[in-house]
Amino acid sequence: MEHEPKTNWWWKAIQTGLIGGVVGVLVSLIGMVESFHERDIIAGQISMGETLLLLLIVLFSFFSSRGTADTPLLKRLGSGALTGISSAGLVAGLVLLGSAVNLRQVFVNASPNLYKILTFENENTTSASLVLIGAGAVIGSLTALLHIAPPLWRRAVISGITIAGLIALLQDLLRITLSPFPAIGESIAWMFGTKGEEGLSVSGAIVIFIIATAINYFSATRGEAVQRRIRALPSGTQKTLRWTSWGLIGAFLLIWPQIAGPYLSEVSNSIGLFILMGLGLNIVVGYAGLLDLGYVAFYALGAYTMAVFTTTGGEITFNIQWTFWEALPIAILGAVFAGVVLGIPVLKIRGDYLAIITLGFGEIIRIMFLSDFLKPHLGGSFGIVEIAPPTLDGLVLNTPQTLYYVILAGCLVALFVAYRLRDSRIGRAWKAIREDEDVAQAMGINLTATKLLAFATGAAFGGMSGAIFASKLSTVYPHSFVLLVSINVLALIIVGGMGSLPGVIVGALLLVGLPELLREFSEFRLLIYGVLLIVMMLNKPEGFLPEAVHKRELHDRDNINEPAGA
């Protein structure tokens, strides 16, 4: 065996483990473990920082177990364990090194606190390292065991762990959501840590894990039968069922800010503005395949148009003082106009070149707002202040809880428009251009008109989002409209699934909502974005909720003879 080191299974396992170990050491040294340690997953037992390291070992053991598939059981177990040992070994090495040499001069985050976390507060570093390596071995073999288990079970257990983890992370959210029902809140209080402690209680974690695993197992084995039974119901009942569930979702969306309180409403508002932008960019990138990296320009134009038309600050030359509702259409039209103006010169440009040009366009708009030349009109770096909030029948909507409804309405309109366009003549033309521009043109599609429509529609949503954003903050500054906003919107579309409407919502919840709720994330937000995008591209390039195939031949044929509106 020693003569063929490259095909040698145990060396491969160790290699995988070492990579995992390097990642583990890295996240420790950049301070991620320490700052995540402040939040508990299981109260008083396991922190998020420890979970992070644990997950790394699990992930890499999983890789090495997958690499040895089709080999004897023992070998797979051994390879998982070896990976775990070598990963943990590197982290233990960090502990030993740190106790001998002061690493802090190079790595600011190599604090005593970090070693405390890594050694489970054991003073004796040698025995702590051994414990660490032992834990690595156990976790590695357990992971291998999980991989060996039948896929049905594997998926159930993984989703059980994921759901328990998510509930632990988002328990504030859960508590607040359940607050109108104190009876439920009290009856599940034992699941969580006592007295304001974060994280689940041990028994709570176990119960949630078992329930989530069981639900997943049954939905995997029985789900289809249930669906078939639902489909077998008379169409009237099915329709009632569908409308009831939509009604429930609608009712929940309507009362949400009242339950959530100002902070969570504010988070929801940020998510909403990004959903709005995501829906717009989804038309340009997801439907029409025109990679636009300067989408923030339309957001900025919407915001500044709203600002110029409604400001009462008197700091700039404009003194129009319109209301929000009067200025909103202007802001949207302004963005549409900009969309067309950008669109015309880039009509013949494809792919990467288009991305670079739009990137430049986004920067031009931001720098234009920042410029001294336009300072008397647009306020330069001081921006524009005292932008009017939306009003409704004399009611001023300037709190997060009331603004929520404006944003919700905007999102619903955008969602409806995007949904209706998706399977229309124009939507199909967009997708045809995305698939093959030359052939699309040869099929009689006017590229100029169709592309401009995509830019304009996308810009309209961006402009609407920006306009609401301006009046939400009541001020606008050029530095709110940096490239990162475009990248965020693009990332949420990619994570959610290009061209998919539910994907936009899921992407916004994941990439905008989650970081807001998990304050520990904020410092590492871009790192997590990057890792998430790379992992998505490698393993699930179509996104979490890919664009669904619209079944038309058989389904719609049944509806062809029904009256319109069916």
Partner: protein, 261 residues
């Protein structure tokens, strides 16, 4: 019989290479017309000139008595010329039926607001378009496969779908670029019969690029042979089979062998 398409001394150059050289072709209405020639003879370039993908440097192309030079390929498609591609180019992430619906694009009228507000006119139009698409699906023999993604179709079905998509725009003339490439003899025979049906039942003029001589000689009414961008022969299958220059182009000068018939 009137000519539906006339190409007058068409020249297309790429840098120093003259891909199509003073080519004159007249295609009678409702005929099946083939363009053949060795690889690189300029057949596909000629197709691209007709469909507006390339603009020829010299010459004139008239369709139905009107010049189509300078038009973009979507305008030419709207005039009634539709095509398929040598290497199948479907919208691979759209379903079979969506591919055909895209083909109908120019015949439909809906813009942004019709679909958004769900106007009666748009709904009616969509319903008719879908019915027509399903009819075409049956016609090209893909019934029941409408909801599959185009990229998941087997090779032969992809070829049929490409023709179905081309037919969706109700063309007067159809340009088929090697429709039987990669097919076995049985499939080829089926495709040959299908092409003849297009002409006989739908009255569509067919311009064909094909390498399979059995197909070409079997269905063409007239053949033009290209070599290095130039027309070296023109005539009925019988004329072509006996033409010395054609034999030389295919098999090299001095060869005594005959091209297979």
């Amino acid at each position: 019989m009137t000519n539906i398409l006339t190409a007058q001394s068409v020249v297309k150059r790429f840098g120093g290479l003259t891909a199509v050289n003073t080519l004159t072709v007249e295609i009678p209405e409702k005929s099946i017309y083939s363009v053949i020639g060795p690889n690189g003879a300029g057949k596909t370039t000629f197709f691209n000139c007709i469909t507006g993908f390339y603009q020829p440097e010299e010459g004139e192309i008239e369709f139905n008595g009107r010049s189509i030079l300078g038009l973009t390929s979507d305008q030419i498609s709207q005039r009634g010329i539709s095509r398929t591609y040598q290497n199948i180019r479907l919208f691979s992430n759209l379903t079979t039926i969506e591919n055909i619906l895209v083909g109908q694009h120019a015949l439909l009228k809906a813009t942004l607001f019709g679909p958004i507000f769900g106007t009666a006119a748009t709904k009616r139009e969509e319903k008719e378009a879908l019915a027509e698409a399903i009819r075409l699906l049956n016609f090209v023999g893909l019934a029941g496969k409408g909801d599959l993604l185009a990229r998941n179709l087997p090779y032969g079905d992809q070829r049929r779908l490409e023709i179905g998509r081309a037919l969706a725009s109700k063309p007067k003339m159809l340009l088929l670029d090697e429709p039987t490439a990669g097919m076995n003899p049985h499939e080829t025979e089926e495709m040959t019969r299908f092409i003849r049906r297009l002409r006989d039942e739908l009255g569509i003029t067919i311009l064909l690029i094909e390498h399979d001589m059995r197909v070409v000689m079997g269905i063409s009414e007239k053949i033009t042979v290209l070599d290095y961008g130039e027309k070296i022969a023109e005539g009925t299958p019988k004329d072509i089979q006996g033409n010395q220059r054609v034999i030389e182009a295919y098999l090299g000068r001095g060869s005594a062998a005959h091209i297979p018939s």
